[in-house]
Symmetry: C3
Subunit: 270 residues, 3 copies
Amino acid sequence: MDIYQKIGNLYTEVREHNPLIHHITNYVTANECANIVLALGGSPVMADDIHEVAEMVSISSALVLNLGTLNYANLETMLLAGAKANHLNIPVILDPVGVGSTSFRNKAAQTLVKNIQFAIIRGNTSEIMAVAGIEVHTRGVDSTREFAEGKRVAINLAKRLKSVVAVTGAKDLITDGEHSLICENGHPLLSRVTGTGCMVSSLVGVYAGISTDKLLAATAGIVSMGIAGEKAFQQLQSTDHLGTFRIKLFDQIGSLSTEDFIKWGRLNEL
Amino acid sequence: MDIYQKIGNLYTEVREHNPLIHHITNYVTANECANIVLALGGSPVMADDIHEVAEMVSISSALVLNLGTLNYANLETMLLAGAKANHLNIPVILDPVGVGSTSFRNKAAQTLVKNIQFAIIRGNTSEIMAVAGIEVHTRGVDSTREFAEGKRVAINLAKRLKSVVAVTGAKDLITDGEHSLICENGHPLLSRVTGTGCMVSSLVGVYAGISTDKLLAATAGIVSMGIAGEKAFQQLQSTDHLGTFRIKLFDQIGSLSTEDFIKWGRLNEL
Amino acid sequence: MDIYQKIGNLYTEVREHNPLIHHITNYVTANECANIVLALGGSPVMADDIHEVAEMVSISSALVLNLGTLNYANLETMLLAGAKANHLNIPVILDPVGVGSTSFRNKAAQTLVKNIQFAIIRGNTSEIMAVAGIEVHTRGVDSTREFAEGKRVAINLAKRLKSVVAVTGAKDLITDGEHSLICENGHPLLSRVTGTGCMVSSLVGVYAGISTDKLLAATAGIVSMGIAGEKAFQQLQSTDHLGTFRIKLFDQIGSLSTEDFIKWGRLNEL
């Protein structure tokens, strides 16, 4: 079956199954992540008290760990929730926001990948390289390294961690270490709205919550946001800019179809 | 006087009195709650350090306790703020977000209702049933139980706690244990935007901040959001969806009138 | 050179230099602040764990300390980050949100101005008076005192702290103690959207991140938001209100030009 058909089917199945996606995430983009999960057809829950995360993850279809405003207490909570999810075979997604920018974040990422089996890890080039233990000089959430180098690192990281690894940017790579896809969907304005990376990780979490094919789930999340970005941009009027673009992203994610994936999708094997 | 006229008058009075509404709330929907309070004509303040909440609540017209991203520290802060508000006869509103989903939240809700006299408690069916101590199997913030059962439980809970209890969903029930109203306003898209429940609780808080009639205040908050949802939906164009709908909710809450309550209101006694 | 030309040049330079702006801020408006920084052409990073803020501020062009949802732990973190920024000569901006409303906030503000050399302090009249140690009776984030009194206090505070001090409201004052500017841009709706004050402080932080002229940077941030507010309002259609206005603010901040500053700017020396 064609990959766009598969993604379109997955998109439809999300609405039927309405998976609950548990997030332990940052306070900057938590609202956007909740709304993008709802737009796709899932149910978000954000809970981060150590007294309840194990119980919350037990009723969830996927767990998304996002390091945006990481703090010491949340790291401990993430480890507990991740262990529980692994025990119950619930997929765990890592968004290593800002890893590479401080040694605190670097150590946290190493602790997480050492203790939790991640189904999918999604970040920009700098973040993925930092997760792989390669020294980078990042400035917060911006990627400065080259995509070519990132590809090689991501494939090796996927093999080593037995995770799907996705590097997103102007072009995106999604790999399980064996098979790799390149996605060329997206729009430059996506990089000028905060949380579009976080939202992609949440979309990936939703798809992973209903599919055992993690490479497909990661690809579906990434291509969904890319197409939504292109379609949102196409609808902007002359005086519209970043504010309106951001709102139209939610409009678009909520109204994609198999036809959209076929018409707009720009996926290729590496 | 007709109830829609009463609600319209209350809506006008909010703008005259500009009540300060203190929230101890979650980081997912705090921004939306602040903006909906401003749209209605109140002033929001979010403050949750234990060193200042008693002083902050003292200058406020109402206190809204929202359990969205509840943690152990905030629970203690809520108890302190609630006690102060009770002492000063400032109405306290409880939004038991996600209660029923973990034992931590269940215990927290029991501790809160045992120690604080709430003017109004608003939640979905699962949450209200869990507050009433009935075992539910909820998935985070989604309601799965039937409205009929919820009505009975809500009326008994209102009597027991001497609070107005509101159960919101496709239909809404507002009851003080003696008198009960059913509201049929609203739109299905409201359940696909995060924080619409939280926002209703904040609207209820604003109205409660200027009215001693708590049944009326709770009803006003619920019917305001319901009508805003219907009017917002009516204005959507063909490519608009959840993102634009969310923004138009704020447009509508900010520009309701007595005529709107009369024209759109669908309130009935139980 | 004309001040509007200078501000227009600064606006262009932001896009060339893309300064990283580190925020230790509140969870109510963090998303808005991140998006407004991106709209202006900077890169936001929000990080508040005490283990990483010194390292994060070291790679930043400015540090914004916002007291919106201040808590005891964050105060300690702010002191550490501020000391590091001062040591590295990175400008620090203070937004004393809600100072004047509780003794906890008053003490925190005094501790901060005693221990950190602020490049710029921006607040409403009540907040600035409270920072100056004058007893006010504020209600959260609302300013109740008169602008005239605020002007005198701000000028003295600027002299004493060797900081640029900005008082924003219906009219804005920006002063370094020697020179003072009045800005009459803006629109009343700005006071009915949460976080517009926080966003101004973030814009000020972006400009301060690329300019050693702190009076100019503060003025640029304030006049940018004022003009964006006027232009956003001008574009509203009959059924649009606070929700749409908020979104159009981001559209406008992202598409200003030197011509806009010249055409719309209403700056005068005191």
